[in-house]
Symmetry: C2
Subunit: 275 residues, 2 copies
């Protein structure tokens, strides 16, 4: 069994580390001339997958934009995920799930268990109930060569008060969580399989996160392009952790429309390479 961390590294070595977000939200559907339906979301996502093929190695569908269409939206999401995986793309399901005990295990089962209709390569998770509450998800991921990215520090200003609260250790909530995740990756020769999600709008040290800890921890970095940060800012935002960052672009690519997708992706890849 190859670990998720090693699979992620292989994909990055082969295709670069840019990740394309798949967010069929209403303003994009409208711009693309598509209906706000499960079928519209399918059309946008499938077209994006075609442009992604050969240009990026990782895609990140955002579950919320499919869930709003109920079972019909989930049928489309199943198809999007399996099509992407069949094409060799690594799929990170952006679901931000979190709970405890058997409920947490059920979320892990939904998104990571081999043979599950929504089986992805990794999922994002929320640890408001403590990183330990995600143990059933992490155990399932490790068992099956899957990954979990734990929401740690986010780019939205409303998140600052909570994420900067001071935990018993004296570290910020975000800093403590990043450290706890890094501890779980200790001993990995390359990347471990438990990652963090750290938004890209300010230096991560301002969030109380020690970037030195993240050498073996993959960092999913949303918010490039659209939310204000540029791919050329990678080093100033993530410091010595920059080498572990999987930067994600979504709206700055998707808003180029079906005809402009490929060029927008190429442009972002070039910007990342020259960074």
């Amino acid at each position: 069994m190859i670990s998720f961390g090693d699979r992620l590294r292989s994909v990055v070595d082969a295709h670069g580390r840019l990740c394309l977000g798949l967010d069929p939200h209403d303003s994009l559907l409208q711009q693309w001339g598509l209906e706000s339906t499960a079928e519209g979301a399918r059309s946008l996502a499938m077209t994006a997958l075609e442009a992604a093929h050969g240009r990026v190695g990782i895609v990140k569908p955002q579950a919320a934009f499919f869930e709003r269409f109920g079972a019909a939206g989930y049928a489309v999401l199943e198809e999007v995920i399996s099509t992407a995986r069949a094409a060799g793309l690594l799929v990170i399901a952006d679901v931000k799930r979190g709970d405890i005990g058997s409920t947490a295990a059920a979320y892990g089962e939904a998104w990571l268990a081999p043979g599950s209709p929504l089986e992805s390569d990794a999922m994002t998770a929320v640890a408001y109930q403590g990183l330990g509450s995600l143990d059933p998800v992490i155990a399932l991921a490790t068992q099956h060569g899957k990954g979990v990215f734990v929401l740690t520090s986010t780019s939205n200003p409303e998140g600052r008060d909570l994420q900067q609260s001071v935990s018993g250790s004296g570290r910020s909530v975000a800093g403590q969580l990043a450290r706890d995740v890094a501890v779980r990756n200790a001993g990995a020769s390359g990347w471990g399989s438990i990652g963090v999600v750290i938004g890209a709008t300010e230096s991560i040290t301002a969030s109380g996160i020690d970037p030195v800890l993240l050498q073996h921890t993959p960092v999913l970095g949303p918010g490039f392009g659209y939310q204000g940060s540029r791919l050329s800012d990678l080093a100033s935002v993530y410091g010595v952790a920059s080498g572990s960052v999987i930067p994600t672009v979504t709206r700055s690519v998707l808003s180029a429309g079906p005809a402009g997708l490929a060029a927008a992706l190429d442009e972002h890849r070039a910007e990342l390479e020259s960074a």
Copy 2:
């Protein structure tokens, strides 16, 4: 438009405040002699709804146990939710969703928008990205007479370090969140429409939550019966906020099996009434 807080009050006045959780997890399915499939989950949930009818006014399906069956599980969840609502039961979708901006809005749309396939009366949400990140969900809820219960303090020990971290105000993360929610309910004559989820295993003052603040804030209290607290402990756990608590029982009822459900519910109701 009747607000969710007022609807919740009417239901509680008519049927009492006990809430039945609908968690078709594997060990229960097995105990009931059901397959671990979407159809098995349907059978358990539908049987539980029949027992709930006339005995409780509120049910809380746990999305994770349906999501693990993908689109097929969501089709069942749609049916469970609409059947419950058609029978006059108030449905709180236990989904613990959270995100920012248009993604948060999409989650609100999925679970609260009138006409959505998964339309419920309220949903649970997570505020790791700050209560303000849930504003699009709260706005949608308020507009349509729906409710949002924000995960505040949970019963699992792994959650303590994060939830007890000290925010800029000097309050604990949990205490600050409870207060921020209460502020949003200020001015409600009865219950407001934004609630909190507070687990029932210790006194809530130990979590830094001031129960006096919660007079107009509905409190969803999971963990009764199975996770260690008894309904007779309500006053000692929630103090002066006890009157705002919607206690939820799940496994202690569902584990009674199809034949014992009604009696188990009656027993819990009697225990609650004598508390």
